[in-house]
Amino acid sequence: MSQAIVPIDFRSNAATAVQDSLLRAALRNAADTFATKRAQAVASVPLDELREAASSIRAEVLSNLSSYLDRFIERASRAGAQVHRAADSAAARETIFSILEQHRVDKVVKSKSMVSEEIHLNDYLIANGIRVVETDLGEYIIQLASEHPSHIIVPAIHKDRRQVGKLFAEKLGCEYSDDPARLTKVAQQTLRREFLSASAGISGANFAVAESGSVVLFTNEGNGRMCTTLPRLHIVVLSIEKIIPSLADLPTFIRLLPRSATGQAITSYLSVITGPRKPGDRTGAEELHIVFVDNGRSSIVTGEYRDMLKCIRCGACLNACPVYRTVGGHAYGSTYPGPMGIILTVLLEGMPKAHPLLDATTLCGACGDVCPVKVPLPELLRRLRERRVEESFTPTIERAGIAAFGRAASFGGLFALGQSTARVLWPLMQKFIDPQTLGRLPKPAERSFHRRIIGVKIS
């Protein structure tokens, strides 16, 4: 039996979030810091050229995605990796679990991966008796707090150091401290034991290189290296659009991704993993599995929203978005928040569930300006709003109002009549319509501009 789809209650989530002054201060602080660092970092590169280059590399991949995927699979397999394709989240979870089961894995260490969030991997593995330890500091924090990431790059952006201090004291039994260096040390010591005793590592990937069959990871904390090299078994989970044609394309993204994401010229670690450990290699997992998640992407890539799949998950649009910085990522009630998150969620999870997210934008355009691969985010948001109207997902009263507006706007006389009526009915309207909306408008002027100038000779 199919369950009724409940739309995400964005307005009520957001209304709660704006009241949370701690959350808002943490968000403002972090989003502004990242946005400022980004602005400084991109000033040192020929940004326009790089964006153009990155955008066309991504566009080329998307217009031939299945052949690039085939090439990647062939090359990665030749290098000794085992590649799997999962049509949806359930298939991906099962694929990963069965690999772990075959290896009798009881504990995995994980490096940050948004796709693993998309497929709800952790819950599934835990329900099946496997211990999952997130090792990115931000991910570790939210795992301890039993939450989900509220930002695609900075998962614990919504927490300040005092909250993290309390959480660590409560969950890890350490002494309370709000010193970030001290807290990092505590996490490092706890996680080091986990790295050494885990029999499998799961990571995401920022890119998959078709020509060489390599996966590429940009990380900062060293945990990514640990997850991908210490355990015997390494599983990479990534979505199908993460491909770039060749290693020669990588420098463009090396220059753009860290700058756009954290304002760094380059991340602390850059891993290019081609197949499992070979004789003579000093590091690397003995067995490497790569799991490609589709989840509808192979159909998105053939349609009018293909450009969304150019996204390289830098998070710059989240930091630039005035709505995101006001409500934070959890209000979106989806895996991916912010401008890219709204679009991706509608595309991946469907209009019936995700349509309220289309109100989480003022269409201010700030996201489009910072996107390193030139995803036309404002344009896609607008198009999805059009689709929402076509598919009748806007409230009846709004549709009626806009229909009346459309008619009035088509006839000068009718429009003037509407103005006079609104003026006369204003006190009544204010009483009956949400005071937070209509009550914020000024009263219509006694005489409209038109009426004032009729009969007055101008010039």
Binding site: P322, T326, T362, C364, A408, A409, K443, P444, I458
Partner: protein
């Protein structure tokens, strides 16, 4: 020279004094401003809401009112100007006749400060003023029309007034057309934050080129009981006409 004035529905309905200020300004620079009868709204509220049919209705009406001659069209709103310039041709992309008409009016539309600076050279006229003025850079004006410098050139030219730039001047104030009504909690929170930025400059007046934003900011001022004048740039300039 002669221009056609598009007042916008907000000015027509709520802020007729801004329309009058605009007329005084244009007249001072020797511009014969005509006001085509029957003009209504550009359709922006429907367009940003995703209502294609209603935006087309409004756009077709605009084309019929303004398409009768080839004068420049001047409007006191970056958002409406961008609607005509950028969105009309797109709305009619599948209709070659209307698309041509849309492109014709798109080529003729000026946001007020664009016209004042590039055609009237008003920034060289020597406006007079007083007090401290700061400026909110509205979204479509900045990011769709790329009008960033013109309002600043005009405001900085006002003698006797001090222009104080606002940090993050081009961050959205939370108006967003239908957004103000559909997400009032976020809209108010964003307007409150904008007001914080404004008040930190120490200005006694905030101005801008879009009455939508100014309306949202004025509401934040009212809710807080702050001492701040919120004025359209046309009014600020017309007050100090040389």
């Amino acid at each position: 020279m002669r221009v056609q004035l598009f007042a916008t529905c907000l000015v027509d309905t709520f802020y007729p004094e801004t329309g009058e200020a605009m007329l005084r300004l244009l007249r001072r620079f020797g511009v014969d401003a005509q006001i085509p009868r029957g003009q209504t709204c550009c359709g922006k509220p429907a367009d940003s809401g995703g209502y294609v049919r209603e935006s087309k209705d409004a756009a077709r009406h605009f084309l019929s009112v303004f398409g009768t001659n080839s004068d420049p069209i001047v409007t006191p709103s970056g958002s409406c100007a961008s609607m005509v310039k950028n969105h009309y041709p797109h709305l009619f992309k599948d209709d070659s006749r209307l698309r041509q008409e849309a492109e014709d009016v798109a080529a003729r539309i000026y946001e007020l400060t664009q016209f004042l600076v590039h055609v009237c050279k008003a920034h060289e006229a020597g406006f007079k003023g007083r007090g401290k003025i700061t400026y909110h850079a509205s979204c479509q004006l900045t990011r769709e029309l790329f009008v960033r410098d013109e309002p600043l050139m005009l405001l900085q030219s006002v003698q006797g007034a001090e222009f104080v730039p606002m940090p993050d001047a081009d961050r959205c104030c939370g108006f967003g057309g239908v957004f103000m009504g559909k997400q009032p909690e976020i809209s108010m929170a964003m307007a409150d934050e904008k007001l914080d930025s404004i008040l930190r400059t120490g200005a006694d007046t905030v101005t801008g080129c879009d009455h939508g934003c100014l309306m949202n900011i004025a509401d934040a001022v009212k809710r807080r009981g702050a001492e701040l004048r919120v004025k359209h740039i046309a009014a600020v300039l017309a007050e100090g006409l040389p």
